[in-house]
């Protein structure tokens, strides 16, 4: 793998860009691997990269049923933050944030991580109190958090509704300055290229249709490209965890739901931070191309269709203009849906499973993108050692049986938790 640098751009530019090496190979699958990761999204590719980078396990394949970056890693609103309240989540997402901060250099691929800050508006004195509580928890964990007054918010984001007639007047906000966005495709491509550079085989158009057993143990997978043996198999197929989990004999506390996201026509720079609405479910940032990228709530029924219904489009648009009346005439360019694994406590699952040889990474609900680096790091540790990393110890499958749920609903700084 050739190193990307200013010099390589100059050299290839002078040669008319005809000699760029492809970013990763397109190998045919070998007959067996030490580890097979099912799912070539952000989490699966990150896992393969850290298996090689941190644990020296390089005889690894990532099997992707479609193409790299075609699933949820390309279907999110690209927000990265670490403002979680509950122990287990707080430390995990902050570790992820630290990996994000060095990711472009670690991968030698510009993931365009932009720490523009995230503001969540508070709409009552009580809500602002609860944000202060959260900010204190974050600071005690060494995470940056600031509480903003109404005037501070108005100074930073003057385009919100501060009028007398605002349905939910803004009392203040919580700000995490290190939060931001990243280019989601680049994350998938960067991990794919870096993993490939360590010798990992990335095999696209290779759907896993079943598992090979030896007694109770899983020893490989059946795929569209034939049988492939594996010492260990890791599932990183959030959205479709139940489908493959069922084939492997797992009973899972997961429902698949569709979450829609939206992008508007390009505007001049306006939304400088990530802004989330504390009175409803709406979060927005502005892409480098100028489109406002935003999302809202789930459609609310089991779905494997990567598209949603219009009722939610209306609800999200209503929330958007309640907070930002100035965008009421902006046209939507497109919207799309992604399929989410929803767990009962809205926290993820990264753990060994009761099935020997099978490891599980899933249940990401609507918060998986920001977790990509830490998820890969911890899942690689879990697969390599057979035991969870301290950072993902709380994300076990049996926490529902033992009552140790992490009931944070994944959404960020909201108050109903304690």
């Amino acid at each position: 793998m050739r190193h990307y640098s200013a010099l390589s751009i100059l050299r290839n530019g002078l040669a008319g860009h005809r000699h760029w090496q492809r970013a990763w190979r397109a190998p045919e699958p070998k007959r067996s691997y030490d580890v097979i990761i099912v799912g070539g999204g952000g989490h699966g590719l990150a896992t393969a990269f850290y298996l090689a980078e941190n644990h020296g396990i390089r005889n690894v394949a990532v099997l992707e049923k479609g193409y790299v970056g075609g699933g949820n890693v390309g279907r999110n609103t690209t927000i990265v933050r670490s403002n979680y309240l509950l122990d287990g989540n707080t430390q995990f997402y902050e570790f992820s944030m630290k990996l994000w901060e060095g990711l472009t250099h670690a991968l030698n691929f510009n993931v365009m991580f932009s720490q523009r800050g995230q503001i969540v508006t508070a709409h009552s004195a009580d809500q602002l109190d609860s944000f202060s509580h959260r900010a204190n928890v974050m600071r005690l964990n060494g995470i940056d958090a600031d509480i903003l007054s109404r005037d501070d918010v108005r100074h930073l984001v003057p385009y919100l509704d501060y009028s007398e007639t605002a349905r939910f007047p803004i009392h203040g906000a919580i700000l995490q300055g290190r939060a931001g966005t990243a280019r989601h495709d680049a994350v998938a491509w960067g991990y794919a290229r870096a993993a490939d550079g360590h010798g990992v085989d990335i095999i696209q158009n290779c759907e896993v249709t079943g598992f090979l057993h030896e007694g109770e143990r899983i020893v490989g997978v059946e795929t569209a490209k034939g049988l492939i043996a594996a010492g260990k198999v890791g599932l990183a197929v959030a959205g479709h965890t139940s489908v493959l989990g069922h084939k492997a004999g797992l009973e899972l506390p997961i429902e698949s739901h569709v979450l829609q996201a939206f992008v508007t026509e390009p505007l001049k720079p306006m939304v400088d931070q990530v802004v989330a609405y504390g009175a409803d479910h709406f979060y927005v940032s502005q892409s480098d191309k100028g489109g406002l990228v935003f999302g809202g709530n789930l459609d609310g029924y089991n779905s494997y269709a990567q598209r949603g219904n219009l009722g939610v489009v209306r609800e999200v648009a209503e929330a958007a203009i309640a907070l930002m009346p100035c965008i009421s005439r902006v046209r939507l360019l497109r919207h799309w849906g992604g399929v989410m694994d929803m767990t009962p406590d809205a926290s993820p699952i990264i753990c060994p499973t009761p099935v020997d040889g099978l490891y599980l990474n899933g249940g990401w609900c609507y918060g998986g993108f920001k977790a990509t680096p830490a998820s890969g790091w911890c899942f690689a540790h879990t697969i390599a050692t057979g035991r969870p990393h301290p950072l993902n110890a709380a994300f076990s499958l049996d926490r529902f049986r033992t009552g140790r749920t992490l009931d944070e609903a994944g959404v960020g700084p909201f108050a109903w938790l304690q």
Binding site: E251, I254, Y301, Y304, A305
Partner: protein, 93 residues
């Protein structure tokens, strides 16, 4: 767009309905001491990609609970029925 053919009200937009989840889940008897049965009732879901029997309540209509058989990949609906059987009709006096 999902449209549910309510047995009482006819075809209506699904926005009029509240989703009630997997209808194949049976609540254990109130005095059932089996931990596994309660665990499975509360948490475990089959979550199929395909035909799914599920509860919907027509909250903005007749308020009846329905059992809908819907394909989770295409949203096509195979059947809609009342969740509880109607009481047998009394013969005219």
């Amino acid at each position: 767009m999902l449209r549910i053919d309510c047995p009482c009200c006819g075809p209506r937009d699904h926005d009029e309905f509240r989703y009630g989840g997997d209808a194949s889940i049976i609540r254990p008897a109130h005095d059932d001491p089996d931990f596994e049965a309660w665990y499975r009732y509360v948490f475990v879901r089959r979550n199929p990609a395909g035909s799914h029997r599920e509860h919907w309540q027509h909250v903005l209509g007749c308020r009846q609970w329905l059992i809908v058989e819907r394909d989770t990949r295409t949203h096509s609906i195979a059947s809609v029925a009342l969740a509880r059987k109607p009481a047998p009709r009394k013969s005219a006096q």
